[in-house]
Symmetry: C2
Subunit: 464 residues, 2 copies
């Protein structure tokens, strides 16, 4: 079965919502999501007794829908699911999102058997199933969304998540950072379409530049290894694998019926295939943000520019701990800095401490940055700062954007918590390819992992 078969899942022309509730109950989010995205094809609600839901003509059963149905999103009760799937076969549906839960995640033989049967019906009927126990697909280019109020802007990130709620949470986090997705798939218990196949599909989609994943386990190891091998170094794959401890493994089993597998085997696979591993949602965001904004180039020689002196010291620690190298500044650069900065309360060595007065006189920050982007020994500049007032911070942000426009070096901003407190002031940075982190430690962790991936690519001959 090749990844091409998944096309109907991502580009349905018509959708039936089987078991959509009339009132505001959990399953209603699918209808709200499609309406909010402005889904272009027809939507057919299916409900045993309603004749109309939210202004849409409603049918008692799927097979009562008079027109062809490409995709069925099924949220009807557990005991009706098999019958609905049989109707999907009759109706020649091509793709099914199965939201209903209560199968293999209950941990009994019955659930596993039922999921086997689902797979059989799908094979026989010639359709594919995402789920059960999942939220399905977000793909704004096809106006698909499992929740309302998700961005309508397609981006370049793909996200594969066994958890449905993470789709919602992670998208919210990313939207505030102006980071957008091409596709997200919440695939739950994965009775049919599983992680390896989805990964392959995202690898083949040229619109997807970065792939990230939240994984509890896979059904079958061999195709996982094959898929990871095919992706190795070609696109960054950032993986949050949970179920690493006994408690986590037990939780994964009751959440999606997943067998989490042995942590050391996963780690070995990650190393072998250049997969970037992360350990929580904050790190996932941090790393995706680096790949989203920065170029894979250079040797990871960093320079730190800081107004506050204390954070500069901890930034130097963080840079060295992350395995990056502190850039040696060129003579010319040091000479220029001497002309820019005051004589006391500063340090011209890397980390460059521009002094507290810089929050009042932004030239100390901006002229320094200007000098550094012209230094051939510098690949990345991490700048910790801001203005003393909101107005000055706006000017600081404008200055960073202006310098970034003229340079392809990595410029990374640290908006120290408590320094720049209004997130909306940072938007122009995200829009200009300057990622922003709350602490230097998180900035360097992200940039270092990105540079290690670049090393992996070079060793494999994928990049020069």
């Amino acid at each position: 079965m090749s990844a091409k078969d998944l096309n109907a899942l991502f580009n349905p022309r018509s959708i039936a919502l089987v078991g959509v509730p009339r009132g505001l109950k959990a399953g209603k989010v699918f209808l709200l999501g499609l309406m909010d995205q402005g889904f272009k094809g027809p939507i057919y609600p299916v409900h045993p007794s309603a004749s109309e839901i939210d202004g849409l003509k409603t049918y008692p059963r799927l097979i009562d829908v008079p027109d062809p149905v490409d995709m069925a999103i099924i949220m009807s009760p557990r005991e009706t699911v098999m019958d609905v799937l049989e109707e999907c076969a009759v109706k020649e549906v091509k793709a099914v999102i199965l939201y209903t839960s209560g199968f293999s995640e209950l941990g009994d033989e019955k659930g596993r058997k039922e999921e086997e049967r689902m797979r059989e019906i799908a094979r026989r009927g010639g359709f594919r199933i995402i789920g059960p126990n999942c939220m399905g697909i977000y793909s704004p280019a096809s106006q698909l969304a499992p929740f309302p109020e998700m961005p309508r802007v397609p981006g370049s990130v793909g996200f594969l998540s066994q958890s449905g709620s993470l789709v919602h949470l992670f998208t919210n986090m990313c939207t505030s950072k102006k980071l957008y997705f091409r596709h997200i798939v919440s695939y739950g218990n994965s009775c049919d379409v599983d992680f390896p196949e989805l990964l392959e599909w995202m690898r083949d989609d040229d619109n997807v530049r970065i792939i990230c994943a939240y994984l509890e386990g896979v059904r079958e190891g061999k195709s996982l290894v094959k898929a990871l091998k095919m992706i190795a170094g070609r696109k960054p794959l950032i993986m949050w694998k949970v179920g690493e401890t006994d408690a986590g493994r037990r939780a994964a089993t009751s959440h999606t019926g997943s067998l989490a597998g042995k942590p050391h085997l996963w780690k070995m696979l990650f190393r072998q295939y250049g997969i970037i591993e992360v350990s929580d949602i904050e790190e996932l965001l941090d790393i995706v943000m680096a790949f989203y904004h920065l170029l894979l180039k250079g040797q990871g020689r960093v320079v730190i520019v800081s107004g506050p002196g204390g954070p500069a010291v901890s930034a130097a620690d963080a840079a060295e701990r992350s395995g990056l190298s502190m850039a040696s500044l060129g003579e010319q650069t040091v000479k220029r800095l001497r002309g820019i900065l005051p004589t006391t309360g500063v340090s011209l060595k890397n980390p460059i401490d521009v002094g507290m007065a810089a929050s009042f006189d932004l030239r100390h920050y901006l002229d320094t940055l200007d000098a550094l982007v012209q230094d051939g020994g510098v690949d990345a500049i991490v700048i910790l700062g801001g203005g003393a007032t909101n107005e000055l911070t706006e000017q600081y942000v404008e200055g960073l954007v202006r310098i970034k426009k003229a340079s392809d070096k990595a410029i990374i901003a640290v908006a120290y918590p408590g320094f720049i407190t209004q997130e909306e002031l940072l938007a122009p940075l995200y829009e200009s390819g300057i990622p922003v982190y709350p602490t230097p430690k998180r900035a360097f962790r992200a940039y270092a992992k990105m540079m290690r991936f670049y090393q992996f690519q070079k060793a494999r001959g994928i990049a020069d």
Copy 2:
């Protein structure tokens, strides 16, 4: 020299600001800070040519001030500092905050020699110096603040910081979490008053319940060891020690002239004396927040309650990795949960997955929480959730507060980024002793470090 000598530093009855600028320049923050706090005693600006600054009568030299001066805050140029200090001796000033920089942090012999001379003048004149190269003291009970717009509410946390900017940044972070300080000291190059003495002073102040510190180095090891030994287990001391790498050590030297010392020696001291080590500002805040809100009691048996299933799995991983134990629920509790929660899409095992419907029907969260606080085998409940709308989230928060009021168990909320996005909705939690973390990993890291400190206390016979 005993800690009593520091009293004038924290309770001055009158203050002279030597070298205060007329316009809005960096040094002006001291005057703005005192005015903002409503400092009760007289303030005497000292400026070579102004006769009035911001409505206050201004004197050309410190010795021209006609009345007694308890504290002098000195921000006059580097080359004038020694003369001003001599004037302090003549004027019988008791405490000096020396903001001016350009001494030992420049890394030359001259700076070190000058700091020795400062110490000599202070000894001879019978006063104490904080600094040079520092922001001095924030102590709202005495209306002291080195920046405007710092809270006027005294709290129970003490903070010792070699960095002045961190005072501002960290206070901002803490204020948004309703966490307040008794005293903060930014002490820079510490030519006279150094970390050990300040630590001793905070240990002896009954109003200080928790001490945290940002440290680049100390002048002298013997008194440090003595001070740490005297604090061991008596009050939590949360220490962010920087200068742990070569790059960090170099940066510490140019920031405050500090010798950072050998990392393994610091680690040994921390272990021996029950000092809680943190590695960045986010962790510092996380740990302080745990000590601020939670009681030192119980055995660290945690239960996780989550609406989103994915985060529940990663929370179980995080709990186990942090060294805490997952509580086994009592039979009675499981029975109650069965009556509260739906039959599918949930898990009654720890981590308890209350299902996505809980964001619509808050009883699933709150009745579960109610059952858990009554389970004798549970010490701490970490709850990940929120309402589907802002109104429901408000009700969720109210419910948590109500349950917390009737229980002394640790209740820890995780406001997953992207789930509860409006920080102000969380204020009632902080006000009721419920700390809030952005991820389960950070919640467990904080609670686990707190419980390890409690173990240390028990082993030392300080707690039972």
